[in-house]
């Protein structure tokens, strides 16, 4: 029953996307606007199909319908309800189903947002592209990634349950949906960019139309990545937040190009330049989401996130080829229209900074992509295996990260078109002082290492610059100084800087020790005391748990554990973390492990020694606070900024319309004056959007 409903939903969705796409294409090419409206109705059928399929799968999971092989694999009577619900996206087929649902929701939302402009060819072609993308993903769930396949033979009486790592922390419930909201969200700006290329309207229209969509998707992708890092830290037990694992890289790659994109569009909005960069970055972002899906789901790369099924690989790869190749063709075809009317006058300018920003982020993405696929390439060419691991990525991306921090400090104070050294010296003085203080103080406390100290210094510099902008804006506008793209962006910058600094501190200054203690003993490490109270064994429905009760500094008790999941037989170590403002204490239980001979229920002996690991991680909480600031800043940036002046007005011109016209300078005068470099600081309003 569930299977039938699900397949019906998928069939409905697939048919709607194909029919809808064809209808709208005919409407666009034959100039029949009515067909555009009709075609857009198919969106609702598509959404209905996706919702039906999703609901059918959830129903199957909740009722533990093991006649579906997917439920038999990831569902279980022993899994708590919340994780059972989230089990839908814990494995391959279901995750594509989630993608389909989110994509359908986005397309419907696009339709609603642009409902007054349905006859506009740009909106029409964007809808065609969105139909095409949806058709592809519906095809995946209909064919190679079908979650509604029946179990072969008789239905089992119970399932295995999701991978144990995916059912012991609520973060796992929200991390994939949020990440997917990011990935999938980029389909919309991409569709509009392609529509712009197809119709030849490659100006700034499509950019302005999709500004908030891009921000929305970027925001969710950022939060999704931070949540993934948090999950890695809280659940995986190796004491790190980022391992440069291929699946992590797959989420980072589109984020890098998307970040470059959201900055670079400012140049296009303001001066109509960097059009090819923007189109390329957006096409790259969307292509990388597909490529990332391919890398993590086709099984070509081994990873902790093992999530693979060989059949889906060729489909994803073909789609990636179509997307990337198609974008390239379109950009090449419209090349002449993409020439900009202006040029960058000086490298020391806002435009120059954004161009350098584009370059640095592209280089970053290139390094990460190269490191991730290099083993693949070498194996295909030379038939031997090699690994590219953390040390490579850390070493190569640290200099790029430091360069980006520097740019983050300088760029906000740069005016458009041209800056002088004098201007920089004046504006960056206090940020530079703060940056130097951020090096001197740690050194006085004994910090060492060039990379972390540079990170502190440059981070302080960049933070000082961002705070300066916010201070100026709030001084002028009060609390409104936090709203708008530029100010929200400064808040986001502060969040990013916190993360960068915390990462630098963590990587360089963490300390680790292991202790073997009898019950009642105390160990000392790093200025803290650890008292082993007792060992506890529990028998929960899903797992046997052996945990230690450890008191830190005579205060609260923490319980690192090892869990033996009965269904799959995996033993998972669960760390216990004491969070503090200046650092975390991260406890892991090393021995003893729960043994399967105890399945009969006999508890483990409680008087033996126990070995546990203590990891001191400085400033970990800054990572999560920084992530929170990024989220807050993104929301702030979505608000409209201060009322715009005409771009040609000088900075001191009032924004109200009550100023009499004759006191406003003539445009021609200003343009000429600017060209002569006379009004040096005009356009230097750093808080200007």
């Amino acid at each position: 029953m569930n299977g039938v409903l699900g397949m019906a939903g998928i069939a409905l969705g697939l048919a709607s996307t194909i029919l809808g796409g064809i209808t709208v294409v005919i409407g666009l090419t034959k100039g029949r606007p009515r067909l555009l409206r009709v075609g857009s109705l198919y969106v609702w059928f598509m959404l209905g199909g996706a919702v039906l399929a999703f609901a059918a799968m959830e129903r199957a999971l909740i009722t533990r319908d093991f006649s579906l092989s997917y439920v038999a694999n990831v569902g279980s009577s022993r899994t708590p309800a919340l994780y059972n619900f989230a089990a839908l996206w814990s494995a391959l087929q279901g995750s594509i189903l989630l993608w389909v649902l989110l994509l359908s929701l986005y397309v419907a939302a696009t339709l609603l947002w642009f409902r007054k402009r349905l006859t506009d060819p740009v909106v029409g072609w964007a809808l065609v592209v969105l139909f095409g993308i949806s058709a592809f993903f519906f095809l995946l769930v209909a064919g190679p990634a079908n979650p509604f396949a029946r179990t072969s033979g008789t239905a089992p009486t119970d399932g295995l349950g999701p991978n144990p790592l995916l059912q012991n922390h609520p973060l796992m419930v929200i991390h994939p949906p949020i990440l997917y909201l990011g990935y999938v969200g980029f389909s919309v700006p991409f569709a509009f960019a392609i529509a712009g290329l197809i119709t030849g309207r490659v100006g700034e229209g499509w950019l302005l139309d999709t500004r908030r969509w891009t921000l929305f998707a970027w925001g969710f992708l950022s939060i999704g990545i931070v949540l993934g890092a948090w999950w890695s830290y809280e659940v995986l037990g190796w004491g790190g937040v980022w391992g440069w694992d291929p699946v992590e890289n797959a989420s980072l790659l589109p984020w890098l190009t998307a970040t470059a994109f959201i900055h670079s569009v400012l140049v296009q909005e303001r001066r109509g330049m960097l059009r090819v960069w923007n189109l390329s970055l957006l096409a790259a972002t969307f292509s990388l989401t597909i490529l990332g899906t391919f890398l993590t789901r086709s099984g070509v790369i081994q990873s902790v996130h093992a999530f693979s099924n060989g059949a889906i690989g060729p489909y994803l790869l073909t789609f990636f080829g179509i997307v990337a190749g198609g974008s390239l063709l379109l950009i090449g075809w419209r090349g002449d229209r993409l020439r900009s009317p202006g040029s960058i006058d000086s490298p020391l300018s806002r435009e120059g900074a954004f161009l350098a920003n584009n370059f640095l982020f592209s280089l970053f993405a290139f390094v990460v992509l190269l490191g991730t696929v290099f083993p693949l390439v070498v194996e295909a060419l030379q038939d031997r295996q090699l690994s590219v691991g953390r040390p490579f990525f850390d070493r190569m991306t640290t200099p790029i990260g430091l360069a980006l921090l520097t740019l983050m400090g300088i760029a906000p104070v740069l005016p458009w078109r041209k800056a002088t050294g004098e201007l920089l010296r004046q504006r960056l003085f206090w940020p530079a002082c703060f940056g130097v203080a951020c090096v001197v103080v740690p050194v006085l406390f004994g910090a060492d290492g060039l990379a972390p100290l540079l990170a502190f210094g440059l981070g302080g510099f960049a933070a000082g610059s961002a705070v300066r902008q916010l201070a100026l804006a709030t001084r002028r506008q009060g609390w409104r100084g936090f709203l708008g793209r530029a100010n929200g962006g400064m808040v986001v910058h502060i969040g990013v800087i916190m993360i960068a600094v915390a990462l630098a501190a963590q990587v360089s200054y963490q300390r680790y020790a292991e202790f073997t203690l009898h019950p009642g003993d105390t160990a000392r490490f790093g200025g803290h005391t650890f008292t082993f109270l007792r060992q506890v064994a529990e028998d929960k429905p899903a797992a046997l748990i052996t945990s230690a009760r450890i008191r830190i500094d005579g205060g609260p008790v923490y319980a690192p554990a090892q869990q033996l999941y009965k269904a799959r037989g995996d033993i998972i170590a669960t760390p216990s973390v004491k969070t503090g403002l200046t650092g975390d204490i991260y406890l892991t239980l090393l021995t003893p492990e729960p043994t399967s001979s105890a399945t009969s229920g006999a508890p483990a002996p409680t008087d033996t020694t126990l070995t546990f690991g203590v990891r001191l991680m400085p400033y970990t909480i800054w990572l999560w606070l920084g992530g929170g600031l990024i989220a807050v800043g993104t929301v702030l940036a979505a608000f409209p900024g201060r009322r715009r002046r005409r771009p040609t007005d000088p900075v001191s011109a009032p924004t109200s319309d009550r100023v009499p016209a004759e006191s406003r300078p003539d445009e021609r005068e200003l343009v000429t004056a600017r060209r002569l470099g006379r009004l040096g600081a005009v356009g230097g309003a750093a808080a200007d959007v």
Binding site: F294, S298, Q302, S308, G310, S340, S362, E379, A380
Partner: protein
């Protein structure tokens, strides 16, 4: 991505010597397209899945040093076994395939014992409790030596990450074969026959 190099050209207004510069953009696009196509071809050719390749850098190389005691306390040195074929099997009682292949090893040991230049079977305890292994051998039979490897020196010496693994060392002390799956007696006998006849082993 290679998009880095593309866009500078298109941002400039057509300059006086536009002819030379305008021709650069299509070449850049072509370069990007070529890299893309090459990558797709490579990705298609990629073989996914766990790489349990039986290849090892030690094939054809002298076997690593194996100097330890058996679980019965007798000293053992692989070097003293020169002159006869030695089959090393990495074994754990907690590993299902190891337990399943044990009867096959018994059969193999018996068949080799009946031959004049029969191979010696030696087990190496892989990350397991010696008492448990002793108990297992007592219960299930197996009169061949089982080696202590509490520090893991033998396992690391051979580059063994998982059990079971079976290695064949020839009378000159050179590694000739590595099997990373469950073995049967027939397989082993056939492999040894081939190696002794001089044909290169391919497992």
């Amino acid at each position: 991505m290679s998009d880095v190099l593309m866009p500078e050209q298109s941002d400039t207004p057509p300059p006086s010597d536009g002819g030379r510069r305008r021709r650069l953009a299509p070449y850049l696009a072509l370069a990007v397209a070529v890299v893309l196509a090459a990558f797709i071809v490579v990705a298609i050719a990629a073989k996914g899945g766990t790489k349990d390749s039986a290849a090892t850098p030690l094939l054809g190389q002298p076997a690593p040093i194996v100097q330890t005691t058996t679980i019965d306390g007798q000293p053992f040195d692989l070097a003293t076994r020169r002159g006869s074929w030695v089959v090393l099997n990495f074994f754990s009682t907690w590993c299902q395939p190891c337990v399943a292949e044990h009867p096959e090893l018994l059969r193999f040991a018996q068949s080799q014992a009946g031959q004049p230049d029969g191979a010696e079977l030696v087990s190496v305890v892989f990350n397991d409790d010696v008492a448990a292994v002793k108990k297992f051998f007592a219960e299930h039979g197996g009169g061949w030596p089982a080696l202590n490897d509490t520090e893991g020196r033998i396992q690391v010496g051979f580059g063994v990450a998982k059990s079971p693994e079976t290695w064949v060392v020839d009378p000159d002390g050179v590694v000739r074969a590595r099997i990373i799956s469950q073995v049967t007696s027939a397989e082993l006998n056939e492999l040894l026959a081939r190696l002794k006849a001089g044909t290169p082993a391919s497992s």
